[in-house]
């Protein structure tokens, strides 16, 4: 008979070969893939930066063609922001968080894999455009009207609009999954007040992604419609407003900086106490400050728009918020300094990078504070001062912590230590070259050098400083190369790390390096915020009294991927969570979606093909199999061992769907906000020649959709009771009512006297109506599939969670229809 370790390794492992590799869902495999892929994009983005620097080294150079130069600086920003920093940090979180909270995998492993494939596909396609010379070229924030069809008629911007939106799907699914995992899968005893600061920071990051990214998706949708369909969201001549783009973009863009900074703060708060050999000072205040930073970061977006002519008072609200964010940021720095001051420092590479981060973060923060002031911002707006500032923030404030994290968790990931001497030399190389590269940029800005210029005249007297900057950039590239050599060599030849080489306090160091497929044989139990230092509470047979379920999970008595779900606040055991097995469907679905996305650039027919394959993928992904039915049969075993097979409250599936609803609500909020923004800039609404909308038939249609939620609610109740026959009646009833909504809405829009291309008003009305219709189509498909599934006998008894999850989405869709009705049909009479 095999040992528990062998059984667990087999259960939590993946199949060999290419199919097995493509089917992998383990969080560590996905996390490493994210990090490696993101680092490759970092190298590509760095090479783009070097090309830009070469072009600017001396006046009058023509190393790059001007068009290529535009593409390079756009792709450099886009790559670093969208393809390197956020995905790397999400990958790190995907790898580390489950280990840190003491669980075996993330709550939706297949969704995790799907997110990675979407990320990879969008990154590859975006860079394909660079190879073909059609890469985006309007800057990473892609302002209209420059990015509109009039000034950018080629496919360049199409790549940006479609692929960045696609990429955000990956970011959003990872964020949703991290949130649900952190709330539902923490080790028994890990109440919120014992949660590691890195996990808090990741939680804040994930929530920020959920609220920040949907507005960019909405903005990209509008820009895409302006370009492909001829709508007028950003066309002033037809009632649109380019500033709407800036508002939506920066509502995402500014929090995006803090989306990257939050986990960086968590990395520092993890590393500092470990190398100071004492618990962090001010744990509670650090938690409050990182949450406060997350909130306040959403109140700063207008400080990117000081030069657009907004009212002084409106701008000053944002001046206040921009200045006040230094308070929680300062609290973080103070806590790290106090921890180091009171501790006994062990100067190893991770701590060096962390101290480097603290220094650079302060410097970048000071220049940021300067730019929070409107008059100063007007002086340096669009100059190299800004470029210098944000590189201090992004490289100093995020890339340094990323390097710290690599050095810190490398032993856990590979089982080997990095070469310390090379690590120290590399750190100093990067630190010094960083200053040589980016500090002089502030001076160039003061001397009036605008950002994004292709070249300059010798008379401008910027030559020497530019030459120094370029030299620094190459020195920095060499240092990063040395860092990569260290990583590469140490992966194979580094000293063996052992389980806890840093003598750290968090749970990821309680298992071997690298961890086994299942992370922990005995699921850990904690009673402290520093479990490995002062409170490791194993429930082994020797210590006595382990609950039966824990023994069963440790001995892998059942051939399923089982772990424990705990309650969100206190981390008390709740129910047995059985996670899905590896599957090729996430890969299939991501590739099918990619085909649909490239249809915009290649051929419209691909939309149909990709869409069809996507539907097939989604059904295949969720359709019950013999293996999944066999898994269900084992749930009763957990009950016998004293652990419920289902939650007392809502299921993980419900929580995941609730996250999707939050994302969609944010997108809906962005759409509604855009409607009123355009309305407030117009004296007449609807504009002259367009009659006020008819309110009766759309009201009937919306009512039908609201009514359709009632049988869904009843079906949910019946599913909990196990009443199959009633569900078989209720679900078709709901679907029919939703179809009624669709038919009536289609008729309403078909008889409208204006279209989406008539005026910005028409663009808004048709887009909001179209989104509502798309959502209704989604619930019709979901309801039908669920009905078919229950007819196989799989819903009741096993898929209560599926009914619950579809239910919460259905209620949102009904709410969406009501809001759309109120805005499109009622608001014109009121506002």
């Amino acid at each position: 008979m095999s040992s528990p370790h062998e059984r667990l390794q087999h259960i939590w492992g993946q199949d060999p070969g290419i199919i097995g590799w493509l089917s992998a869902v383990n969080h560590r495999a996905i996390g490493v893939r994210y990090m490696v892929t993101a680092f490759v994009f970092f190298i590509i983005g760095g090479l783009e930066a070097l090309a830009i620097r070469v072009q600017l080294t001396l006046p009058g150079l023509e190393v790059l063609h001007p068009d290529t130069y535009n593409q390079f600086f756009t792709m450099h920003g886009t790559t670093m922001m969208f393809l390197f920093l956020v995905p790397f940090l999400e990958g790190l979180a995907i790898y580390v968080v489950p280990l840190m909270i003491g669980t075996r995998d993330m709550v939706f492993p297949r969704l995790n894999a799907f997110g990675y494939w979407v990320y990879l596909a969008s990154g590859v396609m975006l860079h394909w455009s660079l190879i073909t010379g059609t890469a985006p070229d309007s800057g990473w924030f892609n302002y209209p009207p420059l990015s509109g069809i009039g000034f950018s008629p080629g496919p360049n911007i199409d790549y940006w609009v479609t692929l960045i939106t696609f990429l955000e799907v990956a970011a959003l699914v990872a964020a949703a999954e991290l949130i649900v995992t952190i709330f539902l899968q923490r080790a028994p005893g890990m109440s919120l007040n014992r949660m590691p600061l890195f996990v808090w920071a990741v939680l804040v990051m994930a929530f920020m992604i959920v609220f920040a990214m949907p507005p960019l998706v909405v903005a990209s949708l509008m820009l895409g419609l302006d370009r492909f369909v001829g709508t007028h969201f950003f066309n002033v001549a037809a009632g649109g407003d380019p500033l709407l783009w800036q508002h939506l973009f920066w509502f995402f863009g500014h929090p995006d900086v803090y989306i990257m900074l939050a986990p960086a703060l968590g990395i520092a708060s993890t590393i500092v106490p470990v190398f100071a050999r004492r618990p962090i000072a001010g744990y509670q205040v650090l938690v409050v400050s990182v949450v406060a930073i997350g909130f306040i970061s959403f109140g700063l977006w207008v400080h990117h728009m000081y030069a657009t002519g907004l009212p002084i008072m409106g701008m000053n609200f944002f001046v206040a918020a921009s200045m006040m964010i230094v308070v929680p940021s300062g609290v973080q720095i103070l806590a790290w300094i106090v921890t180091m001051w009171r501790g006994t420092l062990v100067m190893r590479t991770p701590l060096l990078y962390t101290i480097g981060f603290i220094v650079l973060f302060i410097l970048g923060g000071i220049t940021g504070l300067m730019m929070a002031s409107v008059p100063f911002d007007w002086q340096v707006h669009d100059t190299y001062f800004i470029v210098g500032h944000f590189h201090y923030v992004l490289i100093g404030g995020v890339v340094f912590p990323v390097f710290a994290a690599i050095c810190y968790w490398f032993p856990k990931i590979t089982g080997r230590m990095l070469d310390e001497r090379l690590g120290v030399w590399t750190f100093w190389g990067i630190f010094v070259s960083f200053h040589i590269t980016f500090f002089p940029m502030h001076l160039l800005g003061f001397q009036g050098m605008p950002r994004r210029i292709y070249t300059y005249l010798p008379e401008m007297q910027w030559t020497i400083v530019n030459a120094i900057v370029t030299a620094g950039a190459f020195l920095m590239a060499a240092s990063v190369l040395a860092f990569m050599v260290n990583v590469w060599r140490s992966t194979k030849h580094g000293a063996i790390a052992g389980a806890n080489p840093w003598e750290a306090d968090t749970l990821e160091w309680a298992t071997t390096s690298p961890p086994p497929n299942y992370n922990f044989r005995y699921l850990p139990v904690v009673r402290s915020g520093n479990p490995l230092w002062d409170d490791m509470h194993p429930l082994t047979p020797e210590s006595g009294g382990a609950p039966a379920w824990r023994e069963a999970m440790a001995d892998a008595e059942h051939p399923v991927r089982e772990t424990i779900a705990t309650t969100p606040m206190d981390g008390t055991p709740d129910y047995q969570l059985i996670l899905p097995t590896p599957s090729l469907w996430p890969f299939w679905t991501a590739m099918a979606l990619s085909i649909a996305v490239v249809s915009v650039m290649v051929h419209p027919a691909l939309l149909l093909v990709g869409g069809l394959f996507t539907v097939v993928g989604l059904i295949g992904w969720h359709w019950p199999t013999a293996e999944s039915r066999a898994r269900d049969a084992l749930r009763s075993v957990a009950v016998e061992q004293g652990l419920p097979a289902r939650p007392r409250g809502r299921s993980a599936a419900w929580a995941g769907m609730a996250m999707l609803v939050v994302i969609e609500l944010t997108a809906l909020g962005a759409l509604v906000g855009s409607y009123f923004y355009l309305r407030m800039s117009q004296p007449d609404w609807p504009p002259g020649g367009i009659p006020a909308p008819d309110v009766v038939w759309p009201a009937v249609a919306s009512l039908l959709l609201v009514l359709s939620a009632v049988p869904v609610w009843a079906a949910e109740r019946e599913a909990r009771k196990g009443m199959t026959p009633r569900i078989a009646t209720l679900l078709p009833m709901a679907v029919l009512l939703a179809v009624g909504y669709l038919a009536l809405t289609a008729w309403t829009y078909a008889t409208m006297p204006y279209g989406a291309t008539s005026h910005a008003y028409g663009s808004m009305v048709w887009t909001m109506g179209g989104m509502s219709v798309l959502h209704a189509v989604a619930v019709v498909v979901l309801g039908t599939v669920l009905w078919l599934m229950q007819s196989t006998g799989d819903v009741v008894g096993r898929r209560v969670a599926a009914v619950e999850a579809i239910g919460v989405y259905w209620y949102f869709v009904a709410f969406n229809a009501v809001v759309t009705y109120a805005v499109v049909y009622i608001a014109p009479y009121l506002v």
Binding site: Q284, F295, F298, I312, A321, P328, M536, P538, P547, T567
Partner: protein
């Protein structure tokens, strides 16, 4: 790989089992908040009330500037700030009173997480009350109609 190495129980010395069962083997159920002096809803209001009040202030004040300019009155801005300041203060007060009530019970039956939750609300209220107050300062000093490069009291062109 050494099988024993996977057993984290052997990384550190075992401890008395009674203490462990307290944390790990409680009956499954919703988060237990035994006889707390404050409800879970109040704790959440205390923790998130003030940041949400600040966010609401910012989101409302920004579009209200135009209304204030049209009406030649900053009253809507003062009212908004005042109401939301009161909401944030109420959130802080709820958390503060919860902490006080817990202290009176000497903390014997109060989980640390609940104290953490209440303290979070107090700190959060301090931060966001300051933010709301600072965010109101422009109303005191600026003209809602003033555009960049123009003197105060200049009307927004299309109004």
């Amino acid at each position: 790989m050494n099988e024993d190495a996977q057993d984290i129980g052997r990384v550190s010395p075992p401890v008395p089992p009674g203490a462990l069962l307290e944390a790990s083997a409680r009956p499954a159920g919703p988060d237990d908040e035994p006889d707390l002096p404050v409800s879970g809803g109040a704790l959440w209001f205390g923790a998130l009330g003030s940041p949400i009040a600040w966010a609401t202030q910012l989101m409302l004040m920004y579009p209200l500037v135009e209304l204030a300019c049209r009406q030649r009155s900053a009253l809507p801005l003062y009212v908004t700030s005042g109401v939301l300041f009161a909401v944030a203060a109420a959130a802080g007060l709820v958390s503060w009173r919860a902490l006080q009530a817990m202290r009176q019970r000497n903390g014997a039956t109060i989980p640390r997480r609940v104290r953490f939750h209440a303290r979070f609300g107090v700190w959060s209220a301090v931060v966001f009350l300051i933010l709301i107050a600072v965010g109101t300062l422009p109303v005191l000093f600026d003209d809602p109609c003033q555009l960049p490069g123009r003197r105060p009291a200049t009307l927004i062109p299309h109004l």
